[in-house]
Symmetry: C2
Subunit: 198 residues, 2 copies
């Protein structure tokens, strides 16, 4: 039994190695630079080894994405709990979200931009993903008006943040006025509650 567990442990270790290498390579040079060949060289194994751990390249990216979700969730929570008031919390979370996307573009792409078959709006979605969304929800819910569905409002706010990030990243929005756009967005969302606090 012991040798079995040792093998499984080594396997798990190597899987971790693959995901880490993929992530680091992506963060250093972008996902285009993450080829199965380079990844194999990085972990000092041959290509086919990757396929004994993951179904394909997109599965590796999905694993990286899940890691990213977990980290984002932490950052969103930190920002939210440190802020004061409903408006402050929403602003802080929006700020933290876009800051994360700009600081870790490769991670963000894996999570929310690139095609990478992860289940999203279903109960089978990874826990880390649900946590991240939960943080957004916790910030949006307090500013929801009477009849508003908090979940839908959160999705809408999320989409707005995502749009800002992606359009900026692809050069379609100038980076310059990001802060002001973000403030406009947050203000309009809290204003919808009609009785916005400070």
């Amino acid at each position: 039994m012991s040798i079995q567990t040792r093998r499984e442990r080594e396997r798990a270790e190597r899987e971790r190695l693959i995901v880490t290498a993929a992530r680091e390579l992506a963060e250093a040079e972008g996902w285009d630079a993450v080829t199965t060949r380079r990844l194999a060289a990085e972990i000092e194994y041959s290509q086919p080894v990757l396929y004994s751990h993951f179904k394909g390249k997109t599965a590796i990216m999905a694993a990286v994405a899940v890691q990213g979700c977990a980290e984002m969730a932490v950052e969103l929570r930190t920002a939210r709990t440190a802020a004061k008031g409903r408006h402050g919390a929403l602003a802080a979370v929006g700020e933290a979200y876009t800051a994360f996307a700009r600081r870790r573009p490769a991670l963000y792409d894996a999570m929310f931009t690139l095609r990478v078959d992860l289940p999203f709006a279903t109960p089978e979605a990874p826990a880390a993903l649900q946590e991240a969304f939960g943080e957004l929800l916790a910030a949006v819910e307090p500013i929801a008006a009477e009849g508003d569905d908090p979940g839908l409002l959160t999705e809408t706010y999320w989409a707005a943040l995502h749009g800002l990030v992606t359009l900026m990243r692809s050069g379609r929005l100038p980076e310059r006025a990001h802060q002001r756009r973000l403030e406009l967005l947050t203000r309009h969302f809290t204003a919808g509650a009609q009785r916005a606090g400070a």
Copy 2:
């Protein structure tokens, strides 16, 4: 001189053919299916001919994107001018925007999602692109509050629409409640003006 102009005319004709073929293929099977080989076969020329017209595949996509912008501008204008009131106009434009994205996904991708070196937020941006943005601006401007920069507010609204579209298209938001999310977005944007009309 005549033969020179004839050649130029034929060249322009073929260029049109390339763009049209690329667009049709993309709309039928997605941009992944648009390879230089298939495109060449479609226009009944060999691959290198494409490169005598365009710098590369992304340049062809850019040409398709410009076409798409022109069409979207028309549709946005139609929707805006047919609507009544500031709120109605904004809602109509938002509706038209997302409807366009869902009806012509390949066109939308070329315009706003895929990497395709087009100048965007500069004076050198294609006229069609500026027109499309101008339509959004015309819908957003009337609902801008006193101190708000209409341009920035438009960019923010645009980003929100873009986020809704892309997250939905990539399966990260369920298609089901799209209409309600769009209404939430529009309502919150008009609410920011504090004196929202009907």
